[in-house]
Assembly symmetry: C2
Homo-oligomer: 199 residues x 2
DNA sequence: GTCTATACGAAGATAGAC
DNA sequence: GTCTATCTTCGTATAGAC
């Protein structure tokens, strides 16, 4: 195992994925963005291909079917969650603050890649994609465990987790103007931490 | 205005809407249930018609287009929210407890009708239905105002609202086995109330 | 690896019979 | 009010050229 895995310009599908990233990644990014911005219904193979700047045939060379596209997105989510939990465990500001702040749109590259994957998968989860739901449930379980492992009271941990879900719910459904470093976020974080400390 | 408005067997589309309710309501119920259980993609006119036990032509007599169907669902939501806020304001257990407990699947008829409408609309809101998003945002604003009007500290109110959103997020996305009177709900309510009281 | 062309079914909507 | 065609467009997927 050498130390490559260079990741290209990964995580920055800034301009509708007109990036120089390899086709496969560009397609996955386009799929993600379509799900986030326009919902499952709009994320058709045609639309994905157009946004990734390949033909439908080109897309289907990389992902043999729509199902394959979904599975790859799920795989991306799982990888990002694993990495995130490690950062969370190591966070100097503490697990709770890290969790709350990263529950809304971030400008940090690694973090926002995760958020995009989550919101995109949440869109798919509303349909009857059992495996997508399972992945999200498993992610939530991991978060909850990480919070309680850090010594947080179980009920408080549950509330923290729900606040995070609430933030995702809002961001998966249109504009939460909020940024992770806004004043209202600071107040929210302070209040939650105060609550957790008192239990 | 006489005191009819009998509502038929409204609010109980228990068995896939095989009810005796008038066709229009049966169709709307079927649309709602399809959105909830199988997502936006599955809620096609064909599927709605089949579940409401009318033909597609019959459906389109009552609702001239899919858009009309959506608008009627939105109207139903707005009506139910208005009624709910009145109940919330008058709730003997207090605004906060009422809000938290009614944020998950209820067996109460009036309450569950609202929940169904919300979850169904949340599914639609992921697409680019601007008006659906607006309706949900307005509903959230009303709730938040009701909580703060009851004397709750603004930051605490925001946390309460987020916990509610989190509960909806989970229930809009698959099984939260939770019931409004389970032990874990009692603990959750107690903890939230304790937090609110201390601010 | 990427494209064009095409098959085929599904989804929304219309027309008109009963 | 409700039904059965029928039309059209869209979405997924395949075949085969470059």
């Amino acid at each position: 195992m050498t130390a490559q895995c260079a990741e290209y310009d990964e995580g920055v599908p800034s301009r509708s994925s007109t990036s120089t990233a390899p086709t496969r990644e560009r397609i996955l990014d386009a799929f993600e963005l379509l799900l986030i911005n326009d919902g499952e219904r709009a994320a058709t193979l045609d639309a994905v291909a157009a946004n990734a700047q390949v033909s439908k045939g080109g897309l289907l060379y990389h992902f043999a079917s729509k199902e394959a596209l979904i599975q790859s997105l799920l795989q991306r989510l799982r990888t990002l969650v694993t990495e995130d939990v490690e950062r969370m465990r190591a966070a100097p500001e503490g697990v709770v603050e890290y969790f709350i702040r990263t529950s809304i749109a971030s400008t940090d590259t690694a973090q926002s890649a995760l958020e995009r994957a989550i919101v995109a998968c949440a869109c798919l989860a509303q349909g009857s994609h059992t495996d997508v739901r399972d992945a999200i449930r498993s992610m939530q379980a991991t978060w909850l465990a990480t919070i309680t492992d850090a010594g947080t009271d179980p009920v408080a941990a549950r509330i923290v987790a729900l606040v995070g879900d609430g933030l995702y719910f809002n961001s998966s459904m249109g504009l939460t103007d909020e940024t992770p470093r806004s004043q209202s976020m600071d107040e929210l974080v302070a209040a939650v931490k105060q609550f957790v400390a008192k239990r």
